[in-house]
């Protein structure tokens, strides 16, 4: 006779990760001592170097690239002729927009994953990107000539609101969040595909390219849009990041420590939505950067709380590398970068799921 399994006991909460091992203190005189996570600093420097290499490669590689020896003079001096065209019109804005959008996606993902306490709580999985795409498509169909980016923004916000309402429990329950996100994604995908069918063929190709997320043909307006948003949002994000770290430990403890967990979470969701929507606005719904960047950042330098700066750097590096691949891989001509990130990110998400399941945490 088999013993019956024990009745459902309350699951003990996951052990709280210890606070960051501040590996060193940065001392300024005798009064100021800033804790410094040496590993995080080292990782950041490495990422910056990688990003710089990718950026130089973006500007120099290929038939239309600026020759490497001419790059310093083109960047810091007075670029002329072809170099000026490449720097000002073709690759320059593309690169700057890519760095900004990647950083914005990364920070948005870090915030969302921190709020939902769930590695899957990223804007892609919960329907924000789908909403942005549907918004852009709707604008393209109903008001041709009107900037599609505004439609993307509205669509992203509406999708988030619908997901929030549909879960019934806010963003708290990962399972509900994911199912609601999939529902919203299905809805927005149907709408988007209908629009792609309904518009003219040439317009449909352009729209379809944008809807996959593309950095081709960006201009300085796009670049300044996303960098303006980053300048406003990232400092605010850093301000709440401490409260977010505390609120990851659970609502009761947070309240006991004197922080209002609901207010922190609301602020984080608003900032995250703004950043993700902004990135979608300039670059289209590029898939999975916001899911993977914070994950990679956490692995590179483990610590509790959202790793804002590291996630931003990782996101920017990932996107610039993916865009480099999109420009130079000999598969086909200049496919939208979102196709590459979708394929790679999908595989990564699969790996993540299987791993979480093996641990039994989902």
């Amino acid at each position: 006779m088999k013993t019956r399994s024990a009745p459902d006991l309350p699951v003990p909460p996951a052990p709280v990760t210890p606070p960051p091992r501040a590996a060193g203190l940065l001392r300024l005189g005798r009064t100021v001592a800033v804790p410094v996570d040496t590993r995080a600093v080292l990782v950041s420097v490495a990422l910056l170097v990688l990003l710089a290499v990718a950026a130089v490669a973006t500007l120099t590689l290929g038939r239309l690239g600026i020759p490497l020896r001419d790059l310093p003079s083109a960047l810091f001096g007075e670029p002329r002729g072809m170099d000026k065209l490449i720097l000002d019109r073709l690759r320059g804005p593309r690169l700057v927009t890519g760095i900004g959008a990647g950083a914005a996606f990364g920070v948005a993902g870090a915030l969302f994953q921190s709020v939902t306490r769930n590695p899957l709580g990223s804007p892609d999985v919960i329907g924000l990107s789908g909403g942005a795409g549907a918004g852009a498509a709707t604008v393209a169909l109903l008001a041709p000539g009107f900037p599609v980016s505004v439609g993307a923004l509205v669509g992203a916000v509406v999708a988030m609101a619908v997901v929030y309402l549909a879960t019934g429990t806010g963003f708290g329950d990962p399972g509900r969040l994911v199912v609601a996100g999939i529902g919203v994604s299905a809805l927005t995908a149907a709408l988007t595909q209908y629009v792609v069918y309904a518009v003219e063929r040439d317009q449909a190709t352009v729209l379809s390219s944008y809807l996959n997320g593309s950095l081709a043909t960006r201009d300085w307006t796009d670049a300044s849009t996303i960098w303006g948003l980053l300048l406003v949002a990232v400092p605010l994000t850093l301000l709440i990041s401490r409260s977010l770290t505390i609120s990851e430990m659970g609502d009761e403890l947070t309240t006991a420590l004197g922080t209002d967990p609901r207010r922190t979470r609301t602020a984080a969701v608003v900032l995250s939505t703004a950043l993700a929507a902004g990135a979608v606005t300039v670059a289209g719904p590029i898939a999975f950067i916001s899911l993977t960047a914070p994950q990679i950042a956490r692995r590179l330098a483990p610590a509790p709380g959202p790793r804002i700066a590291l996630s931003a750097l990782t996101g920017a590096t990932l996107l610039v590398l993916a865009d480099l691949a999109a420009q130079h891989l000999p598969l086909t001509d200049d496919l939208p970068v979102g196709i590459y990130t979708m394929a790679l990110g999908g595989v990564y998400l699969g790996y993540l799921l299987v791993r979480e399941w093996k641990k039994g945490t989902l």
């Binding site: 549909a166 979708m342 999908g346």
Partner: protein, 345 residues
């Protein structure tokens, strides 16, 4: 005495009152299906009256009217076929996985079929919708196996897992499909209509090429229905009742995949029909899988034909493809159910 024993050996036998209920539900659904089919023949960019349709059927209508009405026959039959396939596929998937969120669309099987079709037309020069089935099938099978492997690896299991595995698969396959279609403008042009899920603009060829697969899938579904009932009681009870859980699951999942491939080859990837029908059917007649599958055969086409007719009349003279309509009805329904669910997923 003997009858009860034999019935329970085949699985959970429905009580006597259930039989009456099933009969009533079947008759009601059959009537609804007749109405839906009639509406599908009557309405379109040009609407006709019942009398006019009857006159076409009896063969003494004017030629123009005859052409209009007869052009709607393939579409209606295709709707019936795709509806049957999607509904039974969903019922099987939910029965095999005991997962109320299983649906060939959400689990990525339809996208797998779509990827197969796109591959064939892009790289192998396949053209014409009649051959689509031969490419949809391997795509769907591959996707079905993959989602099963991802979804059932590891220790624990939950309703969300399979759906997430489906979402992953859908993402990767969609990237592939987009890459192929965007770099080949001609295929993109054909694909963007088909991918929404539509019944219009097809001919009888598609129907004939898909029919054998649909029938085969349906037969397997009916054959394993008693074993599915046993499976619902848990693996151990199923084994003691003489069912082989592993074989039942493999057959159920396999025929669900074939049916999903048939529907996709015929009408493009359509989501939510396979999700909704089993819920409706369970609400009507309860948990007996034999009854569920029989009733799904009728309810699926009712749902799909109704959605198609709505799509035709809503934006007249343009039309909304049936996949858009099902998504716009199905997704809010899913969200609403989610909101009302009490327990955690």
């Amino acid at each position: 005495m003997t009858t009860t024993v034999r019935a329970s050996a085949r699985g959970a036998a429905p009580p006597r009152a259930g039989a009456l209920r099933l009969t009533l539900a079947l008759v009601g659904a059959a009537l609804l299906l007749l109405c839906a089919a009639a509406a599908s023949v009557m309405f379109g960019s040009m609407s006709t009256s019942p009398g006019e349709v009857l006159s076409v059927l009896s063969g003494d209508a004017e030629p123009y009217l005859t052409t209009v009405v007869e052009s709607r026959y393939p579409r209606t039959l295709l709707g019936v076929l795709a509806g049957v396939c999607l509904a039974v596929s969903g019922t099987l998937m939910q029965g095999v996985t005991r997962n109320p969120l299983a649906d060939p669309g959400l689990l990525g099987v339809n996208t797998g079929a779509a990827a197969g079709v796109v591959t064939a037309s892009a790289f192998l020069g396949a053209s014409g919708s009649a051959s689509a089935m031969w490419w949809a099938l391997p795509g769907a099978l591959l996707a079905g196996v993959l989602v099963h492997v991802i979804g059932f690896s590891g220790a624990s299991s939950s309703a969300v897992r399979l759906v997430l595995a489906g979402a992953v698969l859908t993402a990767v396959l969609t990237a592939y499909i987009q890459a192929v279609t965007l770099s080949r403008p001609k295929i993109f042009d054909n694909y963007r209509y088909w991918v929404v899920g539509a019944l219009g603009g097809r001919d009888f060829d598609v129907l004939w090429s898909v029919l054998p697969f649909a029938v085969a899938g349906l037969l397997v579904a009916l054959l394993i229905a008693p074993a599915l009932n046993a499976l619902a009681l848990g693996d151990e009870s199923a084994t003691s009742l003489g069912a082989n859980p592993a074989v039942t699951r493999a057959l159920g999942w396999g025929s669900a995949t074939v049916l999903a491939a048939a529907a996709t080859a015929a009408a493009g990837p359509i989501a939510f029909v396979g999700l909704a029908v089993p819920h409706v059917v369970r609400g009507l007649i309860g948990t007996d899988h034999r009854g569920q599958i029989a009733l799904s055969v009728l309810v699926g086409p009712v749902l799909l034909l109704t959605a198609d007719v709505i799509g035709r009349v809503l934006l007249r003279p343009q039309e909304l493809m049936v996949g858009v309509v099902t998504a716009f009805v199905g997704a809010p329904a899913l969200l609403f159910t989610l909101r009302r669910m009490k327990h955690s997923l």
